[in-house]
Symmetry: C2
Subunit: 209 residues, 2 copies
DNA sequence: TAGATTGTTAATCGATTAACAATC
DNA sequence: TAGATTGTTAATCGATTAACAATC
């Protein structure tokens, strides 16, 4: 299963394949060729076959790929069946929106708790998830190992919060603050949602493309 | 100013340069070399100089770059001084969070209005921005030209909403729905925030890296 | 002046695309 | 069987890195 040297570009295409295959599956489509799959995603058939061949042989000559099987394989590669444990730090407007709307469970994550400093939200629940006081964080993690933290805190405390959590054993951060987080430990993974960077690239493109 | 063949990789690095330079500027740092700038961003000095040279000559041999000037140049390239007009379609939890927290004006955008179908939000204002009924959309755009739409609607109506807006002349979409939007017109730009894709790549990396 | 650092050209590296034998 | 399509190897393309003359 574990392959080395999978490039970031390949990894970022996997969720798109998974998304499209899920759609095809729900529409009752049984088989698909690399050519057809690529057409819908604007990816060449060659690249799709190269990408899949990093992980195994999922197709059949003359037939193509079975949609349900391929979806399951890619889902497994991405870890949707892994049940990661996740907590959220910072329950402001954005944190709230994610807790209410984001399908964590479909993505392989269980949200165990959320944390905030504001008395207005501490000891409430949001979509069934308890919001605890930040003071309870260390004890909580000691009793409930956490794989990933959703970081929806103010920018000013983002790096120090991350450092503290890394010390408690957290290995992954879904970072919604607009800074580049760093860690001395190479096994810690950061995935950034940089809203401003994203909108700026759109600004550039509507002016120049 | 307008250069052809700027690769997507270059464009996506520009906001990171801009962000770092803004930080340096606020810290009162006057000059920086490509080497120092790269160290903080994990980008080689060579690549930084290559990137900048797509747009002009902003440095000085033996000295490096003036932080304030370089920040202004890159900001200008990205269009932060352009004052794009923007509206939001769909004022749910996520839309609300963006209206309340996202610094649109710092990014070169003016939010003129938001639209929704729910009587619970129509005719309210959020952070000073009027929320109008979706029925008023066509007339509004006829009177207030719109460059970019923030698409925070349910997935099921995303493509049809986009098609309608493209017909009304909208050229850019900041798409928060988890589907790939398409357009027959090549001048229409889509910038996607695919939350689920993002979290899935994190899932993959904590399992494999 | 000497040291530092640019902008740019050339070299390298990696990712994408094309081609094709294997085979369902 | 004949047609279709895979997985993989080879060719191409583009992006990154290295090198260096120019010069502040």
């Amino acid at each position: 299963m574990k392959k080395e040297n999978i490039s970031d570009a390949v990894i970022r295409r996997l969720p798109r394949y998974y998304r499209r295959l899920t759609d095809l599956y729900h529409r009752g489509i049984v088989r698909i060729s690399s050519h057809s799959l690529g057409e819908e995603l604007n990816i060449t058939a060659s690249q799709i076959r190269q990408d899949f061949s990093c992980f195994g042989e999922f197709g059949q000559q003359g037939y193509g790929y079975n949609v349900e099987e391929l979806r399951a394989e890619i889902g497994h590669i991405l870890g949707v069946d892994h049940n990661h444990h996740l907590i959220m730090i910072g329950v402001g407007n954005l944190g709230h929106a994610l807790l209410l709307n984001f399908p964590f469970s479909q993505t392989g994550f269980t949200v165990d708790a959320a944390f905030d400093v504001s008395p207005a939200v501490v000891n409430t629940t949001v979509n069934g998830i308890p919001v605890l006081s930040s003071g309870e964080l260390d004890e909580f993690i000691a009793n409930h190992p956490v794989d990933v933290v959703v970081l929806t805190v103010p920018q000013s405390i983002a790096q120090e919060t991350a450092d503290h959590l890394i010390g408690l054993g957290v290995k992954g951060f879904w970072n919604f603050t607009n800074i580049e987080l760093t860690s001395t430990s190479p096994s810690v993974q950061f995935e950034n949602i940089h809203f401003a960077d994203s909108l700026l690239t759109l600004s550039y493109r509507i002016l120049n493309c």
